[in-house]
């Protein structure tokens, strides 16, 4: 029961957070492929995924050798900072303080950048296309690796976290192959809001365990933490909207 209580939210958090990152990577790879050709775009993607695989193979076993309490505190702090940052941004986006992330606009921008490099001279080894695809897969992929480690390592649940991320990768690849255009309809901010709540709750939980807090209700307190962060974040949205309106009116 306790394992399910942890495994289900861990898998969900890893799936949703990874989905957001993979969607962002797909947008750039699609832009590269449509302008510079699919072969270099997919070569860069494959190189990025292979490098990430090697990183996971090295980092994964190393983590198991670190004492659990140290992992809980270190991972908890990183998870907390990561979650609070996502949640803050999601609140401000939902309140209209900062603009929503627009995959269609990101695709148009990246396509324009690819065109600005001029015509492709060597279709077999297009360094611009390979480099761009490699970089975006590495950047977004490292975030995914961190998310998997962060949500899975402290509780010994790396497997469900990895499965969640893998499911997101497969889903995004399938959608990308089927649609051949950016996944602009995925409600990224709602996902970030939900993931921000989950990561903040997990972060607070593991930080607490790491500093020696004996949580009342043991693992069940996670549900209370999720509910608490969700309630505060939802309440903050209209308050931020009101504050923004006052600030604009005062200008």
């Amino acid at each position: 029961m306790m394992l399910t209580l942890h495994a289900a939210p861990v898998m969900t958090a890893a799936f949703l957070a990874s989905l957001v990152e993979f969607v962002e990577a797909l947008t750039v790879v699609l832009a590269v492929g449509s302008v510079r050709g699919w072969r270099p775009a997919l070569t860069g993607t494959a190189l990025g995924l292979a490098t990430l695989g090697a990183l996971v193979a090295v980092l994964g076993p190393a983590l198991t050798r670190i004492p659990l309490e140290a992992v809980q505190l270190a991972v908890g702090v990183l998870l907390l900072l990561f979650g609070l940052r996502w949640l803050r941004k999601a609140i401000l986006r939902a309140a209209g303080v900062i603009p929503l992330h627009d995959e269609a606009a990101a695709f148009a921008g990246e396509t324009a950048v690819m065109r600005s490099y001029g015509r492709v001279r060597d279709r077999a080894w297009d360094a611009v296309a390979i480099g761009t695809s490699f970089k975006i897969v590495m950047l977004e992929g490292i975030e995914v690796v961190f998310i998997v480690i962060a949500v899975g390592a402290a509780g010994g649940l790396l497997l469900p976290a990895s499965l969640g991320a893998l499911a997101a990768l497969v889903l995004v690849i399938l959608l990308g192959v089927a649609l051949h255009r950016p996944l602009a309809r995925i409600p990224e901010n709602a996902l970030k809001f939900a993931v921000g709540v989950l990561l903040s709750a997990f972060g607070a939980f593991w930080v607490g365990e790491g500093i020696g807090i004996d949580w009342p209700g043991a693992d069940w307190v996670l549900l209370a933490l999720v509910a608490g962060f969700l309630a505060v974040a939802l309440a903050a949205v209209p308050l931020c909207r009101g504050r923004r309106a006052l600030a604009v009116a005062a200008d």
């Binding site: 702090v77 990183l78 907390l80 900072l81 990561f82 609070l84 940052r85 949640l87 803050r88 941004k89 609140i91 401000l92 309140a95 303080v97 970089k135 590495m138 950047l139 490292i142 975030e143 961190f146 903040s200 607070a204 930080v207 607490g208 500093i211 020696g212 807090i213 004996d214 949580w215 009342p216 307190v221 209370a224 933490l225 608490g228 962060f229 505060v232 974040a233 309440a235 903050a236 308050l239 931020c240 909207r241 504050r243 923004r244 006052l246 600030a247 005062a250 200008d251």
Partner: protein, 69 residues
């Protein structure tokens, strides 16, 4: 080197967007750790940790929303 620098910058940006949010959260965690060391009831410290972090988040978001763009 440029790519490595970009990667390092992106990694830091994963955790720190608004410096005051990260710093406040870290200071609050440190204060709660100290409270546990001093022998305060761990259950109460846990509640204070969660409530404090949520309050820090809300205050930071409200302050960002009030800022003149």
């Amino acid at each position: 080197m440029g790519a490595l620098r970009t990667l390092a910058r992106e990694l830091v940006a994963l955790f720190v967007d608004d410096g005051s949010l990260a710093l406040s959260a870290l200071l609050w965690v440190a204060a709660c750790a100290l409270a546990v060391r001093l022998g305060l009831p761990a259950g109460w410290v846990g509640a204070a940790l969660a409530v404090g972090l949520a309050a820090i988040l809300a205050e930071n978001a409200l302050r960002a929303a009030s800022r003149k763009s």
